[in-house]
């Protein structure tokens, strides 16, 4: 029987005595020696002074109230929560890579530049692109870079194109990134097979279309089989095709976006290449382009010339910089380590097992009572799949959200819920390759048990979870202006 740690751990602010936090006499006098009185801090600094053992106990307890890949399956769709090898952590802790200042000259950091250069070459090889920038700090920033490349490209060509097309199954970041680039977002509906329909696409593509942002396989876990025709439609119109690499884990080593006609891609190193997600980040979202767009990449990129790795700053149409320095190097380093340990054969095997695991779980879950595959067919899925619990909800009153909460009670994480937004009562499941048959069988049996409970004891589900650190949250409460509390300082206006 699973039961998550429940320490009822107070906040650090309750662990020790905190006074008003203002500077005491001695501190104030020392500050006044070099600062005019009006520039000395007045408001209290209410941070506790705790012995180190108390800090360690506090965060050890908090860690026990948290679930991660190290504890078991974490099947969030499109998030690729796979095992994070410890060798990557070991490498990222090597002083000669970790303690390098970004202010050092290139001849002093040849090892760093070699990692960046080689990783860029490998990413080009795996995606079929010609040049990469490692600067974007996450997938969404990669998308932003891609969108700006489109913007600059048409500006240089003297074409006025202000629309970007995204399918209705797209990740929310796609339309948000397009908007940040100053584009109008045109959404196209997926067809009954869950795909971008070339006929519908032709209807919306026009002289204002800068490009299409597409995930392939898409968020329904389906390979966009008309991708070549889609690419033709855009290219005939002079538009560009952007690849959202969130789902690259399904095809890496087997098929390449570059061969499908994509002009710009981003990859998520924290997904496909196994760097830890850290509770929400850091990640890394390198962007690759075909050679005709090389001059638009963020600067600098790494080149190898005259026996030395160098920064190249002089890209003629560069969109500029998106990061203070060169991106999340220590994340890129972990990804490089992972890739070298797998080798191309290992990467191929990994992605095919990810797809295999997904289909195995799909078969088991989609035949459960009240659960239907989305779209409603038994086609092979790729690394993830989506089911709808609409029937279950109609028949029992139990929602996808309720089911997800009850799944937690069995000691495993829940899938993504209510996404893609076109699927009613959606569960989006991505088991990844780093779970075995027993894990999958167990997960399927948990979902099965929960679904049975929905029919027999719906109250049990609606009142779940009960075995987690806390019971079901009243989430709206924390977001209402009158009851929200985003920090300890909130509402304390005495300074």
């Amino acid at each position: 029987m699973f039961r998550q740690a429940r320490w009822r751990e107070p906040t650090v602010f309750e662990l020790g005595e905190i006074g008003d936090g203002v500077l005491d006499g001695d501190e104030y006098r020392r500050a006044l020696k070099y600062l005019p009185e009006k520039l000395v801090r007045r408001s209290g600094l209410r941070i506790p002074d705790l012995p180190e053992f108390q800090v360690v106990r506090h965060f050890t307890r908090l860690s026990q109230e948290n679930y991660g890949v190290d504890l078991g399956i974490y099947p969030l769709g499109s998030c690729t929560m796979k095992y994070n090898p410890r060798i990557s952590e070991e490498v990222a802790a090597l002083e000669g890579l970790r303690d390098i200042s970004p202010h050092q000259d290139e001849e002093e950091i040849q090892g760093v530049l070699e990692v960046m250069y080689r990783l860029s070459r490998i990413l080009s090889l795996l995606t079929g692109m010609d040049e990469f920038s490692l600067q974007p700090a996450a997938g969404a920033q990669g998308e932003f870079v891609g969108v700006l490349i489109m913007k600059k490209y048409f500006e240089v060509r003297g074409e006025e194109r202000d629309e970007i097309i995204v399918p209705d199954t797209a990740h929310g970041t796609n339309p948000a990134s397009a908007k940040m680039g100053g584009f109008k977002v045109v959404e196209i509906p997926s067809d009954e097979r869950g795909m971008v329909n070339p006929r519908l696409l032709r209807e919306v593509v026009n002289e204002r279309t800068a490009g299409l942002m597409l995930t392939n396989p898409n968020t329904l876990g389906l390979f966009e089989e008309n991708i070549l025709e889609i690419a033709d439609i855009l290219h005939e119109n002079g538009s560009l095709l952007y690849y959202d690499g969130a789902n690259l884990n399904a095809i890496v080593g087997w098929a390449r976006p570059g061969d499908m006609g994509f002009d710009i891609v981003h990859t998520n190193l924290h997904k496909t290449f196994s760097t830890p997600h850290g509770g929400g980040g850091p990640g890394s979202g390198p962007v690759g382009v075909k050679s005709f767009l090389r001059d638009f990449l963020p600067v600098p990129i790494v080149v190898y010339r005259d026996g030395m790795y160098r920064w190249e700053w002089g890209l003629k149409h560069s969109i500029g910089k998106v990061h203070m320095f060169y991106g999340n190097f220590l994340v890129a380093l972990r990804a490089y380590t992972y890739i070298l340990s797998m080798g191309l054969e290992g990467l191929r095997r990994a992605s095919s097992i990810a797809v295999m695991n997904s289909n195995y779980l799909f078969r088991k879950v989609s035949r459960l009572r009240g659960v239907e595959p989305y779209p409603r067919d038994s086609r092979m899925r790729m690394h993830e799949f989506v089911v709808s619990l609409e029937s279950l909800r109609r028949e029992t009153g139990v929602s996808a959200r309720d089911v997800a909460k009850r799944i937690l009670d069995y000691g495993v994480y829940a899938p993504t819920t209510y996404f893609p937004i076109i699927v009613p009562e959606a569960l989006m499941v991505e088991p990844t390759e780093t779970v075995g048959k027993r894990d999958l069988d167990h997960y399927a049996s948990v979902v099965e048990r929960v679904v049975e409970e929905a029919y027999n004891e719906p109250d049990k589900i609606i009142n779940s979870p009960v075995n987690t650190t806390v019971g079901r949250l009243d989430e709206a409460y924390g977001s209402r202006p009158r009851t929200m509390k985003p920090s300890e300082r909130w509402g304390r206006r005495d300074g």
Binding site: G68, L97, V115, P298, S479
Partner: protein, 448 residues
């Protein structure tokens, strides 16, 4: 293939799916899209040889002693306590993700709530999000927030804003189609206030102010500047140095609507420049909070009335609001935030204040010593732990290179001089040694 399931598992599942091997399985889905990728150059390496390769590679980088580094724009040597390193390495934190199921992710949520709260104390503002990518993109997003709130497509930026910030701001504003106008920093040019006022009169969404500036200086009449900005309906965005905040008036005390900073100096490795930590804070006003980018953690309650934590105000975010979200950010730097939180808690309030005082004292001591070698500063404003110098008849590039030859990373160069930054590791002995090295080099450069 140690990171993958056993061959017998794979075989059993393939059997159930009706395939004899992974090749035929993938072919049945991808068919003609399968490409032969040349893999000779990418064999797999076992862990011992991989580690050896990486160790060799790491030796091809020069590692500076942290007390010999005076460069400090954005990233500097920071001490990471062993306990911090241990705690953020715990798999429950390291291998989790955005807490979409808060009931099972309370540990991360509470840690991020505590991060927001500790950062709110430092900055003197009530609302801090749970992280942006870095200080530069945080600054850019602060400007985008100001535009959403104030609606005027023009922004005022200080002329002294260094490239690691300004180039990123330019990129983000290019996307949004906003225009920037530069003003003279009042710590460099005392006439700047009248110029600022005439620019404000033309209508702007925000004025970005560095306090302290990247050159190091603290503008004494910063409160008047804030009032001036507010009187024209614009937002006052302050980019700050977190190490100054324990003793110098923090953004909240000087009228900031939005405060942004780079969090790395409080406890992240330099990592050749990343990952970093973008700190983003606003005053506790609903119109600012509703327009904030990024994830925000808040206290809430369970259905049974127990205290708990969750992501709040998610309707601002891309996964709900899509094209109308306040930002596209999804993955952020959560673990960097937790690392900085733990590191700061180990120091505690007392440690933060005394370190901040010590840095200020060392910086002034160093400035005094360097002035004896003919150093002069471009500003007479007060400074905290960073200052800028030029030396009579000395080519700064030459000085910089010579000092580098002596094992120093001597600072950041700009048109205003050499900016030097006191970091966590500096001691009286270290700066005395540095000053005398500067003295020797200067004499050499002047005579030679």
């Amino acid at each position: 293939m140690t990171f993958l399931p056993s061959p017998s598992d794979v075989e059993a599942i393939l059997n159930e799916l009706g395939f004899k091997d992974l090749d035929s399985f993938m072919e049945s889905i991808l068919g003609g899209f399968i490409t032969e990728i040349p893999g000779e150059d990418l064999p797999s390496m076992d862990q011992p040889s991989l580690l050896r390769y990486m160790e060799d590679l790491s030796k091809r980088n020069r590692v500076y002693s942290p007390e010999k580094v005076y460069a400090g724009w954005g990233v500097e040597p920071a001490f990471v306590y062993p306990a911090t390193k241990y705690l953020v390495g715990r798999g429950e934190f390291l291998t989790s993700y955005t807490p979409y199921q808060p009931e099972m992710s309370q540990g991360m949520l509470q840690a991020l709530y505590e991060y927001q709260s500790v950062m709110a104390e430092l900055l003197g503002l009530e609302v801090v999000n749970s992280s942006m990518y870095d200080g530069a993109s945080a600054l850019a997003e602060a400007i985008l927030l100001a535009y959403r709130v104030a609606g005027r497509p023009r922004i005022l930026l200080p002329k002294t804003l260094p490239p690691h910030l300004s180039r990123v701001v330019d990129t983000y504003l290019y996307g949004a189609g906003l225009e920037t106008v530069n003003y003279e920093d009042p710590t460099i040019n005392s006439d700047s206030l009248s110029m600022v006022e005439s620019l404000l009169r033309e209508g702007v969404s925000a004025l970005v102010f560095e306090f302290p500036s990247s050159l190091g200086y603290l503008y004494e009449d910063v409160d008047k500047l804030a009032d001036l900005v507010h009187s024209y309906g614009a937002l006052f965005i302050v980019y700050t140095d977190l190490w100054s905040t324990p003793i110098v008036a923090p953004p909240g005390d000087i009228g900031a609507d939005v405060a942004v900073a780079e969090g790395q100096p409080m406890g992240l490795y330099m990592g050749a420049g990343g990952p970093l930590l973008g700190v983003f804070a606003v005053r506790g006003e609903q119109r600012l909070i509703r327009n904030m980018p990024g994830r925000l953690i808040g206290e809430t309650r369970t259905m049974d009335g127990d205290k708990a934590y969750t992501m709040i105000l998610q309707t601002r975010e891309q996964h709900i609001r899509r094209a109308n979200a306040t930002s596209n950010i999804c993955t952020n730097e959560a673990l960097s935030a937790v690392q900085v939180l733990i590191n700061m808690l180990i120091m505690g309030r007392g440690g933060l204040v005394s370190k901040s005082l010590e840095m200020m004292e060392l910086a002034h001591r160093l400035a005094d010593m360097l002035e004896r070698y003919g150093g002069s500063q471009p500003s007479s404003s007060p400074f905290h732990r960073r200052f800028t110098m030029v030396f009579d008849d000395v080519d700064l590039n030459k000085l910089y290179d010579r000092l580098r030859g002596l094992g120093y990373l001597p600072g950041n160069l700009s048109g205003y001089g050499l900016s030097m930054n006191i970091n966590f590791f500096h001691t009286v002995e270290a700066i005395e040694e540095f000053a005398s090295s500067v003295g020797v080099v200067i004499e050499d450069v002047q005579t030679g």
